[in-house]
């Protein structure tokens, strides 16, 4: 639990001068994500931990990137606050830095925003071995380009994130989950309809023939919304936890897990497939062995993207194929931050 940034800088300088590549590791909880990679050495961030500042009344928390999510969440909970984007942990070692790099957010994401939305500022060691600060610790900051939010989904390819400032929010006063028996098509329709009308919705997931709706907010608002929706009341904590942490039986077994990020009302397809629909229809999980290119063309019809989330074969590409123009920008931005290609080579794409 200390500031290791000097040591981290030294490691980056050493790598630069020796021509080595570096694999950036926080808690290792999301090692399964992205392409398999091999680097010459590892930068460990687990000891670069600790909450640097937290002012509950300002709704802002700043922590070193290696700080464990569970430490942050328990600190926030003591003040009646939370990370509104409900990050999945996948293991008790999950860190804040990894969560941002991998852009991981939980079931509340369509309503409460993502980790990218909550980020206010970062510190980062770039490939020139410079320790830089972008954004800030205030809600609004439009000075300079938004290089903090740009890190979400970059998988550490632009540098070593050392510190993150986040917007945090009060925990809702009340929360309640309803279950309704539905087929997938009906559930997608219902999710979109509820999202259009309800102010209290913070979760909408379909699995195994049931639609699960979570309502949260002031006591009075939740009660009123529950009356309007209807359905059986459920013990919510455990269901949403199992979805967030992928511990629901749907995720069990060795089969590939594909993730679609698409238009929330996109028509259900592959009716014989094994599906779990979350984020009010905007995030859909598919189990099984499929051809990536085939799924990509299906994702295009659904006006979004698909990637391999969990799979045995991670030597090929695992993320959606970018358009030529977007690919060129990725290559140029990589050079702008890390011209020697020190950080996480090949983790995001084979060509980066």
């Amino acid at each position: 639990m200390s500031d290791q940034s000097q040591y981290l800088l030294e490691q980056v300088h050493d790598a630069r001068s020796s021509g080595n590549t570096l694999n950036i590791v926080g808690g290792g909880s999301k090692r399964f994500l992205g392409r398999e990679q091999s680097a010459d050495a590892t930068v460990e961030l687990a000891d670069h931990a600790g909450i640097v500042s937290y002012e509950p009344v300002e709704l802002v928390l700043t922590a070193r990137s290696g700080t464990r999510l569970r430490d942050i969440e328990s600190t926030l909970a003591a003040h009646g606050q939370a990370l509104a984007f409900e990050p999945p942990h996948f293991s008790e070692h999950a860190t804040l830095g990894g969560t941002l790099s991998c852009n991981q957010s939980g079931p509340a994401r369509p309503w409460n925003g993502s980790v990218r939305d909550a980020v206010l500022g970062i510190r980062l060691i770039n490939g020139f071995g410079e320790h830089l600060r972008f954004g800030g610790q205030v809600m609004k900051n439009v000075a300079g380009y938004d290089l903090s939010r740009a890190q979400a989904g970059a998988f550490g390819t632009l540098g070593v994130i050392t510190e993150i400032s986040l917007k945090v929010l009060p925990r809702p006063e009340a929360s309640l989950t309803l279950a309704q028996e539905q087929d997938a098509t009906g559930a997608i329709q219902a999710m979109n309809e509820y999202a259009r009308c309800s102010q209290a919705l913070t979760g909408a997931c379909w699995v195994g023939g049931f639609l699960y709706l979570r309502l949260a907010g002031a006591n009075s608002a939740v009660t009123a919304a529950a009356r309007a929706c209807g359905g059986d009341v459920l013990d919510d904590e455990s269901f949403w936890y199992s979805i967030k942490e992928q511990q629901h039986p749907f995720f069990a077994g060795e089969q590939n897990v594909w993730r679609f990020s698409i238009k929330p009302d996109a028509q259900h397809w592959r009716e014989d497939g094994e599906w779990l629909i979350d984020w009010g229809g905007a995030q859909r999980w598919l189990r099984g062995e499929y051809n990536f290119a085939t799924l990509e063309s299906e994702a295009m019809v659904a006006q979004g993207q698909v990637g391999l989330f969990r799979g045995k074969q991670r030597k090929g590409e695992t993320f959606a194929t970018p358009s030529p123009g977007v690919k060129l920008l990725h290559q140029r931005l990589k050079k702008a931050f890390d011209p020697q290609g020190v950080f996480n080579p090949g983790r995001l794409y084979s060509w980066m």
């Binding site: 009344v57 000075a143 009060p170 925990r171």
Partner: protein
């Protein structure tokens, strides 16, 4: 050949090229017709453009960009020209590319809750069009009657509701962008995220330095069923600041939470007769929204809280008309303050809320030092301060004095852990303060990011990120190289 003669030849030949595919009425080369384009909302910065062009199709934008790229001519994108940092200020060697003719709402999807828009659609027009489906677009900058969604993307505009509903960046799904080379890119998707570096976040707030926004898809939210405004007057600024913190500590995230100081209260009341208590030192406007039950409960809690903290007046809106009237005073604060003085200069710093009373006290001290009055309007919920410096441009030297005062306010914001701009952007206006907020290495990183999008550096050059310092550095490097 003299520079002006060279430029006038360039103007003529570019205009000839553009007129081959754009209606000549929308290729503006004469000074008189160009005059309205000489500045944006920050009128103390003016310059004449080389040429103004108003294409009406994306393909025309691409052709303009290709031609300018081939001929290495800078391009400055312009929306409604309501910006407050001179981000759209022309230069004599640059084409001003106005997106004013892209005014169509391409589609509203009531099921998926999104709107596909051309960049010249006005901010307020989105919510007006979405209202029939019970939906609206949340970010609402004060200029929302006039400002366009393309400009909102360029500035990452906020508004009075962003503590609860976020800035522009939080409310975008997809952006189409024409690059400096004239290529059309799509960033984001109809889903909630895309793989790789978040290019859409990077482009949002980039002030026209990375590309030309030609289409925007935004999220729409369900209209709150109910909303209520609680007005509270306080005898001192510190208590009002504490009251803001107390609301947040209650676990309430208000839809809007605004503060005005005594100068702003007096000016606004004289302007709209909203019923503000003119002897108050600080006025809070706190709006709660949501379901009817939630609003009743939360407004009662806020009312109790303000009373307990010793507010001299607390008033809860009892009707939509009353709510609108109480807001009107706040929304008219800038023009209202403008009536107190021949000119005013609006600043835009952000601070941690806890620093408010220190910052206001310091500002009062500087106000005495410069002999210039300052009124304060504050997005208290998110820490965004808008000091309005009153001055008279007809008095020699007063503009310079005002700018220096403004610059020092921004430096004060950085000193207390805030930043130099919350929503107006850097533009030309705050270039000097960029060096206060960022180190030389950070500014160099910004330049490398710009070069990734814009290798020749011809998109809105000289704005947003200061270049002077590296010019000096480059000169030093060159001098060292020559010496060896």
């Amino acid at each position: 050949m003299a520079v002006s003669a060279e430029l006038s030849l360039l103007r003529q030949s570019l205009a000839d090229e553009f007129c081959q595919f754009i209606n000549p009425a929308f290729v503006i080369a004469d000074a008189e017709t160009q005059r309205p384009y000489e500045c944006d909302g920050l009128a103390i910065y003016t310059a004449m453009p080389l040429l103004v062009v108003l294409p009406e199709t994306v393909e025309q934008v691409q052709r303009v960009m290709r031609i300018c790229h081939r001929r290495n001519v800078p391009v400055i994108a312009r929306g409604a020209g309501t910006g407050l940092s001179a981000g759209a200020m022309p230069r004599e060697d640059a084409v001003v590319l106005s997106l004013a003719r892209f005014q169509s709402i391409l589609g509203i999807d009531p099921v998926a809750r999104s709107a596909r828009l051309q960049p010249g659609v006005r901010n307020l027009a989105i919510s007006e069009a979405a209202a029939e489906y019970g939906l609206y677009y949340a970010p609402d900058p004060s200029s929302q009657i006039a400002c366009t969604i393309g400009g909102n993307v360029a500035e990452n505009s906020g508004g009075v509701h962003c503590l609860k509903y976020g800035l522009t960046v939080h409310n975008l799904l997809r952006v189409e962008l024409v690059t400096v080379e004239g290529e059309l890119l799509s960033l984001g998707s109809e889903g909630l995220d895309t793989a790789g570096i978040d290019l859409m976040a990077l482009v949002t707030g980039s002030e026209g330095l990375l590309g030309i926004v030609t289409e925007v898809t935004v999220k729409l939210l369900p209209l709150p069923i109910a909303a209520r405004l609680i007005m509270a007057a306080f005898d001192d600024v510190k208590t009002a600041g504490d009251a803001v913190g107390a609301v947040i500590s209650e676990g309430i995230i208000p839809a809007g939470l605004e503060m005005m100081d005594s100068h702003a209260i007096v000016a606004a009341e004289a302007f709209v007769n909203a019923g503000y208590p003119i002897d108050a030192q600080a006025l809070l406007l706190c709006e709660v929204d949501g379901s009817a039950e939630e609003v009743t409960e939360q407004s009662a809690r806020v009312e109790r809280l303000f009373n307990a903290l010793g507010a001299s007046v607390v008033r809860v809106s009892q009707s939509e008309d009353e709510r609108a009237l109480l807001w009107k005073g706040r929304k008219s604060a800038f023009p209202a303050v403008g009536r107190l003085s021949p000119d005013y200069y609006c600043m835009d710093g952000t601070i941690p809320r806890g620093q408010l009373s220190y910052v206001l006290t310091e500002m009062e001290r500087m106000s005495d030092e410069y002999g210039l009055r300052v009124a304060n309007v504050f997005h208290a919920g998110d820490g965004n301060l808008h000091p309005l410096i009153l001055f008279d441009a007809s008095i020699p030297g007063e503009i310079d004095k005002t700018e220096e005062f403004g610059g020092r306010i921004l430096e004060l914001c950085v000193e207390v852990g805030g930043c130099i701009t919350g929503e107006h952007g850097v533009g030309v206006e705050k270039l000097r303060q960029m060096n206060v907020q960022f180190t030389a290495e950070e500014i160099e990183q910004f330049h490398r990011v710009k070069a990734a999008f814009d290798p020749p550096g011809t998109l809105n050059p000289g704005k947003g990120v200061p270049v002077l310092k590296n010019c000096q550095e480059y000169r030093a490097i060159d001098a060292a190289a020559l010496a060896t």
